[in-house]
Symmetry: C2
Subunit: 108 residues, 2 copies
DNA sequence: CCGTATCCATTTGGATACTG
DNA sequence: CAGTATCCAAATGGATACGG
């Protein structure tokens, strides 16, 4: 949901583009939850505090579109869907971890 | 100032709190613009692409409240206001720089 | 289980005119 | 120059209903 209409405002600076990809209110928390490995939809719903179904779906789709996560569907009954980070998404680990540390020192 | 009262939403995870401080749509761009040193209000308005007055004021206030920036007013005519990063804000430099690099490699 | 869809309230963001 | 004030659009959240 980032690069929809850009004709108007010419160009966004790099940080703005990045935030369009991982700056969503829940993106980093979802990525953080995926660091240990693949997670099912319902697991993510549990792991990301206070998120609701609609927002989780929305952010996951956005992240899938932007190549941060991969969605894998298994034709089981009941259905199973697993989300994993792409290498591109995994490269965010040190950055988000540092941000997390910064927060522990200064925010919490 | 954390473990006081949070009955309603029980607890936000740390990342959510951090994003409340620097996750605003414009915060990182403003911080980035302030890395080289103090800037006046109008300079920031120029340096942060596409931001508008209201949002710049709002984000700066939020960041001042959260100890990221310092606002210094000079009683000149016309008025002069300078914004600088606090040490806490300066510690974000490596993190935002890494994020920027990540974006250059994967987004731009 | 994994979503989609809908209604509605609240929050946040944007454009721009105006002021000390 | 450095903001306020105002009005409006878009994003988000919560609850709930429903379907493959």
């Amino acid at each position: 949901m980032s690069n929809k209409k850009m004709e108007k405002s010419e160009e966004k600076c790099a940080l703005q583009e990045i935030l369009g990809v991982i700056g969503g209110k829940w993106s980093m928390s979802i990525i953080y939850a995926l660091f240990p490995g693949k997670k099912r939809f319902s697991e993510l719903e549990r792991l990301v505090p206070n998120i609701n179904t609609r927002m989780l779906v929305k952010e996951l789709k956005n992240m899938e579109t932007n190549g941060i996560v991969v969605r894998k569907v298994y034709a089981t009954v009941p259905p199973t869907v697993e989300y994993t980070l792409t290498p591109k998404g995994q490269k965010l680990e040190p950055i988000i971890s540092e941000l997390y540390k910064w927060g522990l020192e200064y925010v919490g």
